[in-house]
Amino acid sequence: MTPAIELHEVTKIYRRYGGRQFSTLKSALLHRSILRDLKPSETFPALRGVSFAVPRGQTLGVIGRNGSGKSTALKVVAGITKPTSGWVRVQGRISALIELGAGFHPEISGRENVFINGIMLGLTRRQIEQRFDEIVEFAELTQFIDAPVKTYSSGMYMRLGFAVAIHVDPDVLLVDEVLAVGDEGFTHKCLDKFAEFKRRNKTILLVTHSLGLVERFCDEALWLDHGERKHLGDPKRVIGAYMTDVERQEEQLLTADEAKTLRDVDNPTRSQAQTIDDQAAAKDMTQLTEGRWGSGGVEIREVTLLGDQRQVTHIFHTGEPITVKLAVSAADPVTDFVFGIGIFNAEGLCVYGTNTDIEEYQSDRFAGDADVMFHIEALDLVEGTYKLDVAVHKRDGAPYDYHRLLYTFRVKSRLKDVGIYRPRHRWEFSPTVKFRLKA
């Protein structure tokens, strides 16, 4: 059986027509460059040799970062843009939920817009008449259907657009991130509608950032990266690979970010200028500006975060071990020193703070280079971005070297629980309370 959607080596190159401000008719005429200006001067490949096929009745989820070519792929399948090379074959009537209500005219009523939109999507007047009540009911707009569309809220507008598009009764449904249009109830209704499509052996192509949706709903997943097909196959595995890659990328970003922060702080002109302010800032521990200050008697040369395999990383999963490693050095021997650490969440709330003095380590003597490690056995924080304070100071608080919010790490979690801290926990129920496994 031939697949419902088939793409073969599809490449789409977007063109930017000759530097915008020069491509006016006047200059084109003056320089006799009309033909040249109509040719691309700069190109951008949105899709590079992408091939995939979706068998009839299957649902394919397309995932990938912003700008990875997902939407372009959808537009190519819809026929809105033509591939630069390669070919696309689609069997049956297509309905594309790309921009809902794209053809609505604000001045005329919802009723009239349903008719015009339906005709645009390829229905006849009679077919629309037959489905009209169903459409209006689905959009939950029975009361407002005769009001001009310009008086609709954006949710109503989208719902009506969605309702029309879905009642075209397509063989192939293309969905581009449109489930975010309504309230919870409407989203459920849309999902039910999709499920009904699946039961009726229709083909669905779903572009989304909601990985959960892909996992629950799709038979296969396609991961596009920079316009190339990276993975195609079982949703769980593709999503797993994608998540790993996203984390790797985030890790790089955080590393680059940290390097930049440290460079800024170490910049001598800046830190000179800051010393005076910093003296004041040092007193106010709640102040949340990044910075570094201190007398320099002891120096924190490097701070690294280590994961469960002792690898350097910035991304941790809830419950994993984490180690904060400080490389410190004291040029002259010191006897009065305290190592401290503070963890802050993105809102600047201190999640946890401690130091060696609080924990009753009596400082004795320290000179030369040394490593200080702070081990957390299980990082029981909820998902989010966290910042670190690290410091070495005297017992009275006078800082040798204070690093304020200079280090960032991210905690990932499969569960979307809320708050800051995730206590180790379990649930227990009497046998009369029954649960089912979530699909």
């Binding site: 006016t24 084109a28 921009e99 794209a102 005219h105 001045e107």
Partner: protein
């Protein structure tokens, strides 16, 4: 290209409903509503009549009653000029459709031309009212030609509209330029003056290069003038009009070809 042209027929329901929408939406919210379709040409007529009856009195006896003469040429001109102005911006203002929906782009300029055709036809009611008022009627036999002239103008306007719409996507300047060009074109066409005036006859060959000259003269001969030709018909311009009709078909095909060539660039350049 030919298959695209053929599929235009399939889009008829779409074009119909879009024209209807255009007409409905246009006056939505205004007090006079649909009557504006009558009031607009009426006001235009009043202004021109005032200027050319009182301020710059028209002295050509052949053109009396002047309002009927002038209106016979002005109405079709308004159809042409507003069609072209609207069509040139139609792809840009309808960008959402072209970019986000599988939508036949040529429908947009066509809708501009057709909705203005409807306004033109409604304007004829005002013209008829003035004919009754001045008791100046056309030769009824000649009126059979009227639909032919309208068809020629329709094909001619559609061709230009498609071309302008496609080019404006790439050269936004056309929209600015077009307003001035149309003003020039208006004065270069014998609409407010009589083409048989001596001053016009001196440059007649130049005037004949203007396609709308032939349309305007045809309208005037049919709607305003009375039998002057040997056959007794007032429509001496018939052959020129038919020639223009042929040329318009060629123009339409060429313009549609250009439109079709540029079609794939619309979704990206709009």
């Amino acid at each position: 290209m030919w298959s695209n042209l053929a599929s235009l027929a399939r889009h008829r329901p779409l074009i119909q409903s879009l024209v209807a929408r255009e007409l409905k939406a246009r006056y939505r919210g205004s007090v006079l509503g649909f009557f504006w379709s009558f009031v607009n040409p009426l006001m235009l007529l009043t202004i021109y009549t005032f200027v050319f009856a009182k301020i710059l009195p028209n002295t050509t006896p052949e053109t009396s009653p002047y309002p009927v003469f002038m209106f016979s040429g002005l109405l079709p001109w308004t159809w042409l000029s507003s069609s072209l102005l609207e069509a040139s911006g139609s792809l840009i203002s309808g960008g959402n459709l072209i970019k986000k929906v599988l939508f036949p782009a040529e429908v947009l300029p066509i809708v501009s031309v057709l909705s203005n055709l409807v306004h033109f036809l409604l304007g004829l009611v005002i013209l008829a009212a003035f004919m009754i008022w001045f008791q100046h009627f056309p030769d009824w036999n000649d009126l059979a030609w009227f639909p032919v002239i309208v068809m020629v103008q329709l094909v001619f306007t559609l061709g230009l509209a498609l071309l302008l719409a496609a080019l404006t996507v790439h050269f936004r300047d056309i929209r600015e330029l077009l307003g001035n060009l149309l003003t020039f074109w208006f004065f270069a066409t014998p609409i407010i003056y009589y083409y048989k005036m001596d001053t016009v006859q001196d440059f007649l060959w130049l005037f004949k290069l203007n396609p709308f000259f032939h349309l305007a003269v045809s309208y005037q001969e049919i709607l305003f003038f009375h039998g002057e030709t040997p056959t007794g018909s007032s429509f001496g311009h018939m052959w020129s009009l038919l020639a223009l009709g042929g040329a318009s078909i060629v123009l339409f095909v060429v313009c549609y070809w250009v439109f079709d060539r540029l079609r794939d660039s619309f979704a990206e350049a709009v």
